[in-house]
Amino acid sequence: MAETTGTRPSAATAADDPTRELLDIVPDDAVTGTDDHLNAPALVVRADRVQATLSALRDAGLDHCACVTAQAYDDRYESIYHLRDYDDPTREASVVVPVPTDDPTSESAAPVFRTADWHEREAYDLVGIEYDDHPNLRRILLPETWQGHPLGPDFDGEEPQIVPFREHANPLADDRRGADTMFLNVGPHHPSTHGVLHLKVSLDGEQVAAVEPDIGYIHRCEEQMCQQGTYRHQIMPYPDRWDYISAGILNEWAYARAAEDLADLEVPEYAQVIRTMSAELCRIASHMLAVGTFALDVYGDFTAIFMYAVRDREKVQNILEDLTGQRLMFNYLRLGGVVWDLPEPREEFFEKIRDFLDDLPESLEEYHDLITSNEILQSRTVGTGVLPPEVAKSYGATGPVARGSGIDYDLRRDDPYGYYDELDWDVITDDGCDNFSRLFVRLREVEESAKIIEQCVDILEDWPEDERTIQSNVPRTLKPEADKEIYRAVEAAKGELGIYIRSDGTDKPGRFKIRSPCFSNLQTLPEMSEGEYVPDMIASLGSLDIVLGEVDR
């Protein structure tokens, strides 16, 4: 919780060094106080000096606006901008902007960080904060006709939503953006929108003149559901349902990491190794599907490469089923460890993983034969959907999308957690910035994940039998002390999956915010596809590898 002390920055002499450093960067008249989040120092900033503060911090190297969290207190609203450094993600800062409840208007950060565009729209939509100077402050997840702000203080969920009929009267009337363009709805029911995504596309002939993603079709109030669950057990099943492309354990780890750091829980080293191994298995499964569906988007029909990818994903899923008892919704991690040990007989389980890893290089060779070395595919993907690194950073792109644009950013290495820093593996980047690079990065990352899994299996095999502690001693009812705030992220299959939790002294989070990598990555689509052909837009969308369950939450 922000201490809105009203003191001048110079009075904050008690603040420790990182805060001091931040205060030197930002304009003096902007800061009204300081705070300390568990992950980073926080500055409390006046609502009309947001842009000046953020641009000063951005120019000082905090160039990654990872997330914007909005929340309502009894007496005020708060927007929190979680900033990080792309070169060193452990260098973090939070910018807290409180606004009074009766006039919730704050300056928009969209001119400084383009990613703030969507994040602030979401804050407006769900919490009800208004942003001055925002280019396009409309609802994003809920329908345009929705009344009230569900996470705001005075929202009545029982009140029926009355939608006047005229709101739905021909939404496309007079929609001719520019001369000689044709408006086209791609989705929400389209073969290659990878779920229920709706793209409002203006076509100039076959070329895309403008594209605007319309999301929110499977918004399931995940944040609110997590706020209604207890830390210890009730939240963990939800992360599986964000990115449901078999990346469940990666998602679970995001929650586990945030909650463990919040409640100061230890995780036994043995459990960390199991987590690392199972998370990388999930990454392989997720990347396999990404590659397969991307090929499907470019190749056209239900082709061999998709079946091959699903075949290999199936092997991973069988291993994960042996481990967790589930094929998609694993619910395997627990705060302080994992739910149970490796399946018996262990030798058989290790053998199964080894068999998979032994076959993998051959399969990858097959993918390279079928996809990356195919001349037609290269002519379709090289140089299309270009996302320059500067633009990618401004949009907060992470994961293979950022690494395909040559941004060397991987939280597994840069902000180590789990067992990653003990293992020998590389971060894959590619300078192509195009659809091909993103595809290539994913295929290479599968190799690296295989390396990690192999090392984990070796370690687990040699682990002494009496030291196999799978969970630390965690209180049955977890009640972190009130007003602790934390933002923690892990490298999920799609990028930086971050969780912001504010505790309110009870056994449930006061605010639970999900930073979805797909949400930020999808914002880059207009940048990549405007001026290109329709098929390239489809390919770019495929190369982003979004999961709408995670975009809409």
């Binding site: 073969p191 499907l296 190749y299 056209g300 239900f302 379709r380 052909y533 098929p535 390239d536 489809i538």
Partner: protein, 372 residues
């Protein structure tokens, strides 16, 4: 009528020709005449013979389509992707054809709001019938040949080109933007590829000196070379393999198969011109597409693969084998080759294929001119 040129120069003994005689035969209608003869001739016999012959040929093609569409396509694709495909109903799942036919025909026929009615209804009829029309002049061996006009080859191309009309009608009349895009794409594509296709076919005509299908087939029965006692016939695929490859590629674009299935491109424009069609209309489109594939295969077999000629088996069987081989090839390409982008397709057509086909035509003319 031009005198046929002998590409090999010397008169070689005619091999066991499956059908037809060397040189340009007078226009005739072998199958219809045969039926008419059975019926005792006369005007009535001629009319009934012609109708009956057309009925038989059309049904043969429809049966092949029925096998190819719901069954063979699935089985072939499944084989390419390590799957099993239909196997529950009947031997090898063959009765899925019946089940599918009943399913498709019993669906509700939905006409979209604002569809341009006569055009919307005529389009699905135009497509299969344009393709069926092309089969009228294809010699299928064993005397199965509906009509053999002097301009047979031109007729086949002209008939198959009518399909473009059906596609643009469907695309325009559906009142759907995806359909419109698909219709426009198909026209752009057909314009870009029909010219190389016809020009390449013209290089064959330079060899044969006739447009009559029976003449083209007869020409190819002659011996090209004897290798250790095995007689290699003078198929134009052997005489001019370059033209054969060119024709094959242009043919794939003409019938809109991968990697040139741009007009449908399911991942981009949903289903192109046939987005709004369902039930019987969809069946007609589906039929039309497959008959077009077979017609493409038939024209290619006639021009480059000796028509119905082949050892041991009867000519008709060889003809069926050849067009099914072409069908298999299209399905192989469908499973293995990514589709190109629309601008790349147009570029390949106008800047690549057109130039190559003209080069091929000029070179062929020079070579034939020198030899003759």
């Amino acid at each position: 009528m031009p005198v046929p040129l002998q590409a090999t120069g010397t008169a070689t003994p005619t091999g066991t020709a499956a059908n037809g005689t060397a040189g340009a035969a007078p226009p005739s209608a072998p199958l219809a005449d045969a039926i008419s003869g059975l019926l005792g001739g006369g005007l009535l016999g001629d009319v009934v013979g012609a109708l009956l012959g057309a009925f038989l040929i059309a049904n043969l093609m429809l049966i092949m389509t029925a096998v190819a569409g719901p069954w063979a396509k699935r089985k072939i694709t499944a084989a390419f992707t390590d799957r099993i495909a239909v196997n529950r109903i009947g031997p090898f799942g063959l009765l899925i054809i019946v089940a599918d036919a009943v399913r498709l025909l019993s669906k509700e026929l939905v006409i979209p709001d604002g569809a341009d009615r006569p055009a919307f209804d005529i389009a699905p009829i135009v497509l299969p019938f344009s393709a069926l029309l092309g089969f009228a002049v294809i010699p299928m061996g064993n005397g199965i040949h509906l009509a053999d006009p002097e301009t047979g080859l031109v007729f086949a191309f002209a008939a198959s080109s009518i399909a473009s009309l059906g596609l643009i009608m469907a695309g325009y009349a559906s009142n759907n933007k995806y359909s419109l895009l698909g219709g426009l794409r198909s026209i752009a594509q057909n314009l870009a590829y029909e010219i190389p296709l016809v020009i390449t076919a013209a290089s064959v005509v330079i060899f044969t000196g006739t447009l009559q299908m029976s003449g083209i087939v007869a020409q190819q029965t002659e011996t090209l070379i004897n290798v250790g006692g095995i007689r290699i016939p003078q198929w134009f695929a052997f005489v001019n393999p370059f033209a054969f490859v060119l024709f094959l590629a242009a043919n794939m674009a003409e019938i809109g198969r991968n990697p040139f299935d741009i007009p449908e491109a399911p991942t981009e424009i949903v289903a192109g011109y046939q987005t709004e069609y369902g039930s019987v209309y969809f069946v007609l489109f589906y039929l039309g597409e497959f008959i077009h594939i077979f017609l493409g295969g038939a024209i290619m077999a006639t021009l480059f693969l000796g028509g119905p000629a082949g050892p041991i088996l009867p000519g008709f069987l060889w003809f069926i084998i050849k067009i099914w081989a072409f069908f298999l090839f299209t399905q192989w390409a469908r499973s293995a080759i990514p589709r190109v982008r629309i601008d790349q397709l147009i570029e390949i057509g106008w800047k690549g294929m057109l130039v190559l086909s003209f080069a091929n035509l000029v070179l062929t003319a020079i070579i034939v001119g020198v030899i003759a």
